[in-house]
């Protein structure tokens, strides 16, 4: 499980730390708005959210946040370019239909994007597939193959290659272990790709 620190999950705290005070933030897949609420309270952020579930949206709106029910695939295209300083996609990329379009849209409507996703290159995943011949079910990949919402898994290396193809600059890369702890990150991400259960990246568009 990911640890909690000061009422905010560690990965969310890492993301929160990267958000500038007073900036405009779009959180795609914002759940009940925990991160947005924290950013509003502690960093004076003008935040907006997109969330798929009615329960999540209701909870977020009920605490005064501006959140729309929708998803990354269908609801990013309408936002005007440069509308946000930061667009956040936490643990959602692997569940989108068109990850390339989503990433491009994020960097169109935001100056930079913060993306986190479970790493399919983690050694446990490799072990499960390589030795057991079974689809992996781990602490961060909790679904069986037949009920998973995750349709576009990738490894940290896959992600870096895609960023290169799309002309996206990786400004910062953070590798996280199963407890949410930060692991050392090597230049090309090969070690992180083996040891990290999730990757967290700050992206911008090459200009």
């Amino acid at each position: 499980m990911i640890m909690s620190l000061g009422s905010l999950r560690v990965d969310l705290r890492l993301i929160a730390d990267m958000v500038e005070t007073g900036s405009r933030v779009l959180d795609v897949g914002c759940g009940d708005g925990t991160l947005l609420a924290w950013l509003g309270r502690h960093k004076d952020v003008d935040g907006r959210g997109v969330e798929l579930s009615m329960a999540g949206v209701s909870a977020a709106v009920a605490q005064g946040l501006s959140v729309i029910q929708g998803d990354a695939d269908t609801d990013l295209k309408d936002y005007p370019s440069g509308a946000f300083d930061t667009v956040i996609l936490s643990q959602t990329l692997q569940a989108t239909y068109a990850p390339k379009t989503v990433l491009n849209n994020m960097l169109r409507i935001g100056r930079r994007a913060i993306v986190s996703f479970p790493n399919f290159g983690h050694w446990r995943v490799r072990l499960s597939l390589g030795l057991k011949g079974r689809m992996p079910v781990t602490n961060t990949l909790t679904y069986e193959w037949f009920d998973t919402p995750n349709i576009h898994f990738c490894t940290i290396r896959d992600f870096l290659v895609l960023c290169e193809d799309l002309g996206i600059t990786v400004e910062r890369a953070i590798a996280l272990d199963g407890a949410g702890g930060v692991l050392p990150y090597d230049g090309r991400g090969c070690v992180a790709n083996l040891l990290a259960t999730q990757g967290l990246f700050v992206l911008s568009r090459k200009s």
Binding site: A60, V61, A62, Q63, L65, I68, Q69, D78, A83
Partner: protein, 404 residues
Amino acid sequence: MDEPLSAMTDTASSGSSLSHNPLGLTVELGRDEPIRLDSGVVLDSVTIAYQTYGCLNADKSNAILLCHALTADQYLADPHPITGKPGWWNDLVGPGRLFDTDRYFLICSNVLGGCMGTTSPATINPATGKAWGQDFPVITIGDMVQVQARLVDYLGISQLFAVIGGSMGGMQVLEWCASRPERVFAAIPIATAARHSAQNIAFNEVGRQAVIADPDWREGRYMDYGTKPRRGLAVARMAAHITYLSEPALHRKFGRNLQGDRDAFEYGFGAEFQVESYLRHQGSTFVDRFDANSYLYITRAMDYFDLAAEHDGQLANAFKGTQTRFCVVSFSSDWLFPTVESRAVVHALNAVAANVSFVEIQSDKGHDAFLLDEPEFHATLSGFLEAAAARRGLKPAAGKEGTP
């Protein structure tokens, strides 16, 4: 029944301490500055009938305009003067309730063309001394909002804290936000659309043709003959009523159950099934409280509504630069104003980077869900209003500090 019900014309001076007016209020507008309708017709006198609840605060920042749907009226939270039934959002209005009358000043007016006291086809045409009938000018949602804005002027309110409404009321909310954005701090369009769909125009046309086909309609001059197109209007209501419900809701309520305690068919065209009896009842009671010409004019106004068309075909243009905070709500089983219509509004608002929340409430009650007990819906409205009120600097009602 279409006579103005008012007794208290011009008593609602702005900032007054009146809290409730069971008899209803009316005010005559347009005398100083005539009202130019979208059709080009100019009216120099329009009477608007309205209700208020709660008190306007000193800086006039706590007013909420509630816009009613097609066949509702200003009796938001009063017993209806004809049917005696509770107001259409009765359970949401009152001290400590969602629309807290200790905190907000609520205004609800009968729309232009409506038949509960506002100028309509049943009103006397000053030029002829007889009821307007079909000589009444065709009206639009924009005209309804223009008249509401005049009422808000009259009450001395420059900016409404919120404009809220469902269905046709939601169209008025959107029209307010497009035409008078600086006058709306927060907006809640519910179960509505930025344009009336072809299917909805089609349903409206069925209703209108039912009225017009009734020999008692008499080219709209039935009042001169002391008749009413009862059958036609009842059929119109029956057809429309189906569109307000959903198949699951109808099934749950009636199934294929037969009328009374029958267990066999009668092999005739009486009301065999409970659902038929229910619809007939809906039709006949509607006729007692609604005017046939009003029904024609108001449904027509809905048909004309197309906010994008008025803004170069781009809905986003209607909201360009808006500072209003929006909360858009739809219901999953609403097939009259389906979620896709609300999404179109949300996408347009996103395109202008507006401050917008949107939720599709899971309900199997169809379009009418916005008038029914839907706790998730009410919780969403409450949270949005609370946050907007804090932004607007509206204090919680006395005795409720610390319990937002």
